[in-house]
């Protein structure tokens, strides 16, 4: 289980996180929603250990990772898989080598065993045959799926998705969501996803948490969020614009 307590983070004078409290049950798909630029990705980067909070704690199965640095954080990170917003595929490597990369570097599997695992991972994301291609040679949707294959190939316990469907058309959004759901059912990982794909995320989420002005203002199963009486939540999920545009 992941537990976040009183997390705060400022950049310069800008207070992005103002005391985030969140619980992510083991084996669930928890989706963090909120306005663009509202700190969702910053929160996710804290969970991954890429940013250190100004105050507050993050527990991964009772281990406070905010106290860990460098090598002491590596055992925790070894349990993670991360799908970045941009995919973050290594553009000097082929898709096959991208997926094989974590296994080659962190496991003691033979080249043959790695080959079997990579082929299986690419098949799961329905990309059999794209292995020899470079990330620049495939579409945005395919890149996201290769990134998912790379995140899952080492069979992590916790998978973080940072807006995995940004920039994709509605059909691809649903395809990626279904893929995540299918893989989750198969591998039973704990998933934490940052997204603002409303209402699509309600189809796949076990829990939804709404981040607003640096705090989690509502958490619960999708139906509870959809029927929430909190005006901030309602305004967000109905897409009601601000009276004064913020742009």
């Amino acid at each position: 289980m992941i537990r976040v307590e009183g997390l705060t983070k400022s950049f310069g004078g800008n207070r992005v996180l103002r005391g985030v409290d969140l619980e992510v049950p083991k084996g669930s798909i928890t989706i963090i929603i909120g306005r663009s630029g509202g700190g969702k990705s910053v929160l996710l980067k804290h969970l991954i250990g890429l940013l250190r909070p100004d105050s507050g704690r993050i527990f991964i199965d009772d281990v406070d990772i905010t106290r860990l640095t460098g090598r002491t954080l590596e055992p925790v990170r070894s349990r993670y898989g991360v799908v970045f917003q941009s995919g973050a595929l290594f553009d000097s490597l082929t898709c096959y080598d991208n997926v094989a990369f974590p296994l080659r570097e962190k496991s003691r599997l033979s080249a043959k065993e790695i080959g079997v695992r990579v082929d299986a991972a690419l098949e799961q994301v329905e990309l059999t045959g794209v292995g020899p291609k470079y990330p620049a040679e495939i579409s945005g949707g395919m890149r996201k799926r290769v990134a998912i294959a790379r995140a899952l190939v080492s069979e992590p316990e916790i998978v973080f998705f940072d807006e995995p469907t940004t920039g994709l058309d509605p059909i691809l959004v649903n395809t990626i969501h279904r893929l995540i759901q299918t893989l989750h059912r198969k591998f039973h990982f704990t998933a934490v996803m940052v997204s603002h794909e409303i209402p699509e995320i309600f189809e796949i989420a076990d829990r939804v948490a709404m981040l607003y002005e640096g705090r989690i203002v509502e958490t619960g199963p999708p139906h509870a969020i959809q029927s929430s009486t909190n005006p901030v939540v309602q305004k967000f999920i109905t897409g009601e614009p601000d009276e004064k545009p913020s742009f």
């Binding site: 890429l50 990170r77 993670y80 970045f84 973050a88 553009d91 974590p102 570097e105 962190k106």
Partner: protein
């Protein structure tokens, strides 16, 4: 920040703050190198990445080194010949060209050329990896990005810069030969014979130590600037420019220092 400070003291406060920023940046720059050196001596060693960087920094710079080396030697041959001919000392063209190139121009110009070609590319490549989250991806895979990107580049700089310099020296001396002997009629025996008399091992070692240190400077600056890139394409562009300018300035400053210390 400045609210509690008397207006008359505010310029000093600004100077102090800027000084602290510079000291902090220098500290980060030094710590970055310290970490890279420590990682270079601890396993696992990335042999494939090291060889790949030698290709990237060294092999890909061959053409520009050959071109600039040849023409530098030719220009030196021409200018020094006309200067020496005023004193009737054309016989010393060979050693004059060789000493200028081996001690000074070979290491400095080859380092500047490699900075322009490979240093800028290194900064841009690492910078793009930073802004596209590829470095973050390495980190969350529990892999140290410095071990993958910085250490192989630094080691490749140590290996390739002396080799590039040796190549520059050779073609530069040949360029001087083309002009002095083939074009202006100096005898071949005089050109090379006097060179043997006046150039000794300490001159070659001076060039070697310079090129070795330039290899460290260029890759250190290039990887540091790539790692600490700003936001977006503009950030990468700025880091690349800063990398080339800073490395070039450091090469010239360090060259003077080395020149005054080495025999």
């Amino acid at each position: 920040m400045t609210e509690g400070i008397a207006p008359a003291l505010r310029p000093f406060e600004a100077i102090g703050r800027r000084t602290l920023e510079i000291v902090e940046a220098l500290g980060r720059f030094g710590a970055f190198f310290g970490v890279a050196v420590a990682l270079a001596f601890t396993p696992p060693f990335r042999l494939r990445a090291f060889v790949s960087r030698i290709h990237y920094i060294g092999f890909n710079s061959l053409l520009i080194i050959l071109l600039t080396g040849t023409f530098t030697g030719m220009v030196l041959g021409l200018q020094i010949y006309f200067t020496l001919s005023r004193f009737g000392s054309e016989a010393y063209l060979g050693p004059a060209v060789a000493l200028s190139i081996i001690r000074e121009l070979g290491p400095v110009l080859s380092a500047l050329m490699v900075t322009g070609r490979a240093g800028s590319a290194l900064t841009a490549e690492i910078g793009i990896m930073r802004i596209t989250e590829q470095i973050d991806a390495l980190t969350v895979m529990a892999l140290n990005p410095m071990r993958y990107l910085v250490v192989p580049s630094l080691l490749a700089g140590l290996v390739t810069f002396p080799m590039m310099t040796a190549l520059f020296d050779t073609v530069g001396i040949f360029g001087g030969y083309l002009v002095g002997v083939q074009l202006l009629g100096l005898s071949e025996g005089t050109y090379f014979g006097e060179m043997k008399t006046f150039v000794d091992m300490s001159d070659i070692m001076t060039g070697f130590w310079k090129s070795l240190s330039f290899g460290v400077i260029v890759t250190w600056v290039a990887t540091y600037k790539g790692f600490h890139v700003g936001h977006g394409a503009e950030g990468v562009a700025r880091a690349t420019t800063q990398s080339v300018v800073l490395a070039s300035v450091l090469i010239l400053v360090w060259d003077y220092f080395m020149g005054s210390v080495l025999p």
